[in-house]
Symmetry: C2
Subunit: 202 residues, 2 copies
DNA sequence: TTCATTTTATGAACAGTGTTCAGTAAGTTT
DNA sequence: AAACTTACTGAACACTGTTCATAAAATGAA
């Protein structure tokens, strides 16, 4: 049936129209200044229409989060170019931190905000993040016994936590307490990440 | 003038009444279910009255954050009992992580939420956190050259970031991606913190 | 005590939020 | 052409933080 196909296609196009508008507004205006009404205005539909395509705002946010994870994964593929696994691990960490610096609002949505996670019903599942996490896990596997860790899961969580800790303290303005001049904050974050990598290596 | 003294005292009592009610609601009901109207209801005043004592919600939140930092500092003093600085550093990190596990909503207010930081006008100042941060910085100083770090600021940021990274990934449900059974999440967080301490030591 | 002034508290309103739903208009099938 | 289905929306609901004119109470001066 050609019509049902077209209808399905149009439905997907509408969903894309909505999340593209949402994503653009998150990046440009920030998360807090982006409401359902704002998104509706931008795409020239009524707010109620959005609810025909997404159950609620959380579900919409989860979808945008998915797009953001695609961008992160693309950054990984583009920036992690070395063959030596230890070098790859370093490139990965800096790619991750850099993503946080360049897209703080997307980072928020991916790793800090509560809202999008409310759309994940399953207790132990978060498909949006799988691809990126596996990318990290694979690199750590390839490092074999070159790291001072016995457990690869702990190694992965260690790398992730130091990266996330640095970025989120920065994004949420907690590094203020160290009273560093503004242009040195980035430097000390990068230096701390480098030191962590150094300590991890055998 | 006795009357002005009493008035000032009453003003401070009213401010305390408000933040105590707010704090109790954050802990009991969670941050998202605590509105100015809810707090006003609890203390049996009109919402408008709260604005006679606090400029806006952000200022109120900043004050509650200050109370939360007092509690964190008290936990440090109570739980960091060793004399050896390396041991003290370990006790501090676990005290910090434990605080996050036991008071996730206060941790939110202290280290994750944007709102309370909007009440900090100064670019490079965050008095609420000073005491707790200096406690960490002092311990690291006392470690002297026993750590594999040249720069004490980097050592401090490294410890803080790993602790914050672990807690905030947990609180905001991002550790889901590792697909661990619920009772093992705490274990792997603690194990990762322990490994970090091990790597830091000479 | 009486009157004027200052302090303290509030009801009602404003502009915003996410969300629902009856009603309308357009598209599709018979 | 009529019946049915799908797509869309205006208006409303219950909530949010915040402001402000108004009222009540406390204080100071006569």
């Amino acid at each position: 049936m050609g019509i049902t196909d077209r209808k399905e296609r149009e439905k997907q196009e509408m969903r894309k129209l909505i999340i593209d508008a949402a994503m653009e507004m998150f990046i440009k205006e920030g998360f807090e200044r982006t409401s359902i009404r704002n998104i509706a205005d931008k795409i020239e539909y009524s707010p109620a229409t959005i609810y025909l395509y997404y159950k609620d705002k959380d579900e919409l946010l989860y979808e945008v989060q998915g797009q953001a994870f695609l961008e992160l994964y693309n950054a990984f593929v583009k920036e992690v170019t070395a063959t030596d696994p230890l070098e790859r691990l370093e490139q990965l960490l800096f790619s991750y931190i850099n993503f946080g610096f360049e897209h703080p609002d997307l980072y928020d949505l991916m790793f800090i905000l509560r809202a999008p996670m409310k759309a994940v019903d399953d207790e132990n599942d978060w498909p949006n993040c799988d691809e990126a996490y596996n990318y990290l896990a694979d690199i750590i596997d390839k490092c074999g016994d070159q790291l001072r860790f016995d457990n690869p899961q702990i190694a992965a969580l260690s790398i992730w936590s130091i990266g996330h800790g640095l970025i989120s303290l920065y994004i949420r303005e907690r590094i203020k307490v160290m009273q560093l001049p503004d242009d040195q904050i980035r430097n000390i974050i990068i230096a701390t990440a480098k030191e962590h990598l150094r300590l991890m290596k055998k």
